[in-house]
C-alpha cells in the first residue's frame, strides 16, 4: 500500500484518545492516507497532540477538521457522538464517508444516522482492541494488529464505501468482519461490557471492605485480583456511556451471569464438589481456543514482564 495510492486523501479524527491516536500511528506506519487532521474538545489534548506531532494538523473545531476530508472518524465517547454529528453535518463534503469507533452500535446509529446528509456515506465500525490507558499519548501503531474490527454497515450502505473502509482497517493490521448492529451489541455485551462491569464491581467490593485494608488488597493482588483491576482502570466516561447506551443487552447478559453465579454459590453452600469440578473443567477449553486463535499469549500470566 504505497503512499502514492492513498486509500483516503484526507482523514479527520474527531477525538484524539487511545483509538484515534493508534489509528494515526497505524495509518502512518502503512502509508495508507494523505493528510491526517485531528481535533479534540479539550485544549489540553490538542496541545499534547501538537507537541508530539500525533497528526499532521491539529485544528480547534470539529467543523474545521471535517472540511475537505473524505474520511471522518468519530472517536469520542458514545454519548457524545450525536452532538458531534450535528455539529459537523453542514461541513461534510459530498461523497465523504463518516465512520465511528464506538463500542456500541445500535445507539450510535440512532444518534448519528439522522444527521448524515444525502450523498455522504455512514459506515459504523468498532475495533476490538484497547488498553487500560487513555489520552493522546496512549496510542501505538500495533494496537490493531491481528485484532478484529467489526464493520456494521447500515441498511443500504454504499458497498464501495464499505470496501474502502475495510481496506483501511486491514491496512492498519486488523482482521475485519461485517455484523449487524443488534448482534454486535449482544456479542460485545458478552465479550466486553459485562466483564468490565463485573471487574469494576469486584474492585469496588475490595475497596469497600472494612476488615481488609486497601494496602492488603494491593499487596496480595497477584493471587488473581490484579487481572480484574486492569480492565477496571479503563476510561470512566467511555464506560459510563457504553452501559447507558447498550442497556438492554448488558442487562440480559447480567441476568444470565447472576443466575449462573447463584448456581455455583449454591454448590459451594451445599458442598457439591462434582458440580464445581465439572464447571471449572469445562471453562479451560475456551481459554485454549482463544490462544489457538491468536487472540492471547500462552505464556504464564500473559507473559507479564518481571515487575521486581
Amino acid at each position: 500500500m504505497p503512499a502514492d495510492a492513498p486509500i483516503y486523501d484526507r482523514v479527520a479524527l474527531i477525538g484524539l484518545g487511545l483509538i484515534a491516536g493508534s489509528m494515526a500511528h497505524a495509518m502512518r506506519r502503512g502509508g495508507l492516507v494523505g493528510e491526517i487532521v485531528g481535533t479534540a474538545r479539550s485544549a489540553e489534548t490538542r496541545d499534547v497532540a501538537r507537541e508530539i506531532g500525533l497528526v499532521d494538523r491539529v485544528v480547534d473545531t470539529a467543523a474545521e477538521a471535517v472540511a475537505g476530508a473524505d474520511l471522518i472518524v468519530l472517536a469520542v465517547p458514545v454519548g457524545a457522538m450525536g452532538a458531534v454529528a450535528e455539529e459537523i453535518a453542514p461541513h461534510l463534503a459530498p461523497g465523504a464517508t463518516v465512520t465511528d469507533v464506538g463500542s456500541v452500535k445500535g445507539a450510535v446509529i440512532e444518534a448519528v444516522g439522522p444527521y448524515i446528509p444525502e450523498g455522504v456515506h455512514f459506515v459504523p465500525a468498532h475495533p476490538l482492541a484497547g488498553t487500560e490507558h487513555s489520552g493522546p499519548r496512549s496510542g501505538f501503531a500495533s494496537l490493531f494488529d491481528n485484532r478484529f474490527t467489526l464493520i456494521v454497515p447500515a441498511e443500504g450502505s454504499d458497498r464501495d464505501a464499505v470496501a474502502r473502509l475495510d481496506a483501511l482497517w486491514r491496512g492498519m493490521g486488523a482482521n475485519t468482519e461485517e455484523m449487524d448492529a443488534d448482534h454486535h451489541d449482544l456479542v460485545l455485551a458478552v465479550t466486553s461490557h459485562t466483564p468490565h462491569l463485573i471487574a469494576y464491581t469486584m474492585v469496588g467490593v475490595a475497596d469497600d471492605l472494612r476488615r481488609v485494608t486497601d494496602s492488603e488488597v494491593i499487596k496480595y493482588s497477584a493471587a488473581g485480583f490484579r487481572d480484574f483491576t486492569r480492565i477496571a482502570a479503563s476510561d470512566p466516561t467511555m464506560w459510563r456511556d457504553v452501559f447507558l447506551s447498550n442497556k438492554e443487552a448488558t442487562l440480559e447478559i447480567l441476568g444470565r451471569f447472576t443466575e449462573e453465579l447463584f448456581a455455583l454459590q449454591r454448590a459451594i453452600r451445599t458442598g457439591d464438589g462434582e458440580l464445581l469440578f465439572d464447571y471449572f473443567t469445562h471453562t479451560r477449553a475456551i481459554r485454549r481456543g482463544i490462544i489457538e486463535a491468536g487472540q492471547d499469549t500462552a505464556a504464564p500470566n500473559f507473559g507479564r514482564e518481571p515487575t521486581t
Copy 2:
C-alpha cells in the same frame, strides 16, 4: 546463602505441581537446601519429574519421601491434605517442620494439625503466586520473586521453626508476612477466591449462550473477556477444594459482590450516569496502587507479547 550453609538439609515435596516444582527450581537457584526429595500420587507425574530432573530424588510414596527430611512441604490440593498428613505422621523425624502451600488456611490447620506428632513443628504458609498452568513441567524459579508468602503459625508454634521457614521463602525471592488463619482466609476470599469464581462464571455464561457462538467469543475476546479466561483456566481440582474449604468467607464476599452488582445494574436500568462515572473513577486508584507496589506491570495489556 551459600550451599555450605543450607537452611534445611533435606526437603520433601509431597505433590509435584506448579508450586512444588517452582519451589524446587527456586531452592536450587539460591543453593538454599541440601537434598530435595519429591513424590506425587500419579505415576505419570513422578515419571515426568524424573525425566526432567525436577528434584534430586523421586520416590513412590509420601512415607518414603519424608523419612529423614527436616522440612516437609504439603503441596497437594487442600482437600487431600488431611489424608497425606495421616499417611506421613508415623514417618516424621523429631524436630522436623511440616508446612503446606494451600490457598486456605483454617481448613488445612483443622485437617492436618491433629496428625502432627509431638516434637514436630507445623508452620502453615501460602505463597501468593501462580499461573494458569499446572503439572510438573509448569514450575519456574522466579515464580515467587517479589510476591508475598503469608506465614500462618498456629498458636504456640516454635519461633525458631517459623524463622527458618521464613528464611527459606525469602531465599526463594518472596516477601513474607505473618497473618492469622481467619484473616488470611478472608483476605484471600477477596483477592483470589471470589475473583476466580466470578471469572469461571463469566466464561461459563459466554460458553452457554445460544445466540453468540463460542467461535465469536474466542475471536472477539480481546475486548476484555480474555483477561477473565486466564484465571478461569486454572486447575479445577485445586479450585473445587478452595471453595469447599473456604466456604464461609467466600460466601460472605460473594454476598457483598452481588449487592454491589445489583446497585450498578439498577444504575444502568435507571440511567444514573453519575453513579456509574463516580464508581468507575474510584476503581482506577486501586490499579495505580498495585502498580506502585510492584505487584503488576504498568505496560498496556500487561505487556503481553504480540500474539500475531
